[in-house]
Subunit: 333 residues, 2 copies
Amino acid sequence: MKIIVDAFGGDNAPLEVLKGCERAVKELGVKIILTGSSSKIKECAAHNGISLNDIEIEHTDDVFDIHEEPKEIIKSGKNTSMAVGLQLLGDGKGDAFVSAGSTGALVMGATFIVKRIKGIKRIAPSPVMPADKGGFILTDAGANTECRPEMLVQFAVMGSAYMEKVMGIENPKVGLLNIGAEDTKGRDLEIETYKLLEKSGLNFIGNIEARDIPKGECQVVVTDGFTGNIALKLYEGMGSFFGKKLKWIFSGAGKIGALFSLGKINKLKAQMDYRETGGSALLGVRKPVIKAHGSSDAKAFFNAVRQAKKCVEGDVVGVIESYVSDMAETVKE
Amino acid sequence: MKIIVDAFGGDNAPLEVLKGCERAVKELGVKIILTGSSSKIKECAAHNGISLNDIEIEHTDDVFDIHEEPKEIIKSGKNTSMAVGLQLLGDGKGDAFVSAGSTGALVMGATFIVKRIKGIKRIAPSPVMPADKGGFILTDAGANTECRPEMLVQFAVMGSAYMEKVMGIENPKVGLLNIGAEDTKGRDLEIETYKLLEKSGLNFIGNIEARDIPKGECQVVVTDGFTGNIALKLYEGMGSFFGKKLKWIFSGAGKIGALFSLGKINKLKAQMDYRETGGSALLGVRKPVIKAHGSSDAKAFFNAVRQAKKCVEGDVVGVIESYVSDMAETVKE
């Protein structure tokens, strides 16, 4: 299996990308194609003693600027490490693509270069997030700010396929993010989506209120990209806030106190560590595309490659395709 | 000053309501009118040794059921402790009203019984929430799921008046909750609201991303009621999740460890305690109405009464009225 990796996406490129890929080659038995400046990659590898065994380089001069308008990925950004990676994927030169670059550009590029699965209306970046009873996928987490009910149903279908095939959750529970439990709650979008999800054949458990998300009551949380992005970032922000508070509590004299709870503190840290799940799957693309977190380190890149591999092995794309054609009759377009 | 209090709202009524009101009479020098079953109130007070000095009772037989449709407050619910309290407020028999009953019913009842401030389009339940650099008001936190830009501008105006007059924050910073910092981000709602806020004369600092909310970077966070409710409940849910985790860390052998950080743990607890701020102000009503949290205890009720008193003293309603008439020219309706 060959995973294409954008060597110049994210805050810690290319060093952490290279370290993550080296480990992935060794431990996962995959081959890697890195996109980006060949000389810089080789220099960085040599300088840090990183092996490039089973790692090819596809040279590109440019890097897509995170502040650039997303649509430029298919215009002025054609020769960037991200666009070239997507093109290689579209051309069948690799099985999946990983990048820690701009989410907007990646969604735009995936849509127009790799293309969507037949019947899928929109691509949804969908991270797996930590929760008390285990992770859940949040879909859409930010791409589609205005949605129609059919789109949310597709997100639910894709999220379910992902949780089943990549995360190994049988018959994952689907919840519609809403402001109350009753089917009359929310905007027209939620009220209509509720009806469609009820007859979707998915394991739909009804509305989920935001306060129940951290409990991990369901494994697929469905919402539009605006609300999803607010939820994602608030989740991250609160996590980081409490992480800092925990550090503060265990500073000074608290350092001694921490010794009494070290096991528990480390367990909580691991549970809330976004690096464990890798990145955000761009559900709906014809080939697996993983958006790694912008601040990814080697461990996060390794896990993103592992996640890409699992997507290929579990044939998430194929499962979504068959779901969509099965559902074409039940859910009106 | 006379504060009307619904004696039968919330999970802990009437005992905790009575305790909170007894303390408010003693410490704040206010008079109270309790609405609800006279015999039950007297019995509860006698049984628990609670003084009813400076507390009048306005007898009502019924209590508004939290599961009832909000609109019933002005129909079948007319003789409930909530509706009667609102009626007394509307009739000028008291200066403010506090209830821990159904938010939906309270918004509906306030709108039709007490009425809105002239020029205000919608009433927005707006809680003050804890953050690292101090609290912020979230407006709208749940009433108006579909909003127009002018409504969000009014929420910003009302939230600013509240933070200034009740919380004592001079020139509070206003942030528009959005999925990115640039003025081109978000839905049409955010893009249009951004333009209006820029020329509003408020201390508008631009968009605020959800991950920055817990830092307390601005004191007024403006959004529609759907997004606001998701943010509010996720904030509460994450807070409760981490509260539980903290308890768990400090259980067992951790109990000893906690001794080394007791001061810090208590400081964090106090900082995140929703009971400190009282409740959610229903901004836009012609007289102050405070929605106390459903799980309020005596301390929370006491603080809700204190908050109501501050609203009266700071003339929040008057300030909003003058803001609105000043702005009528700058912000088109």
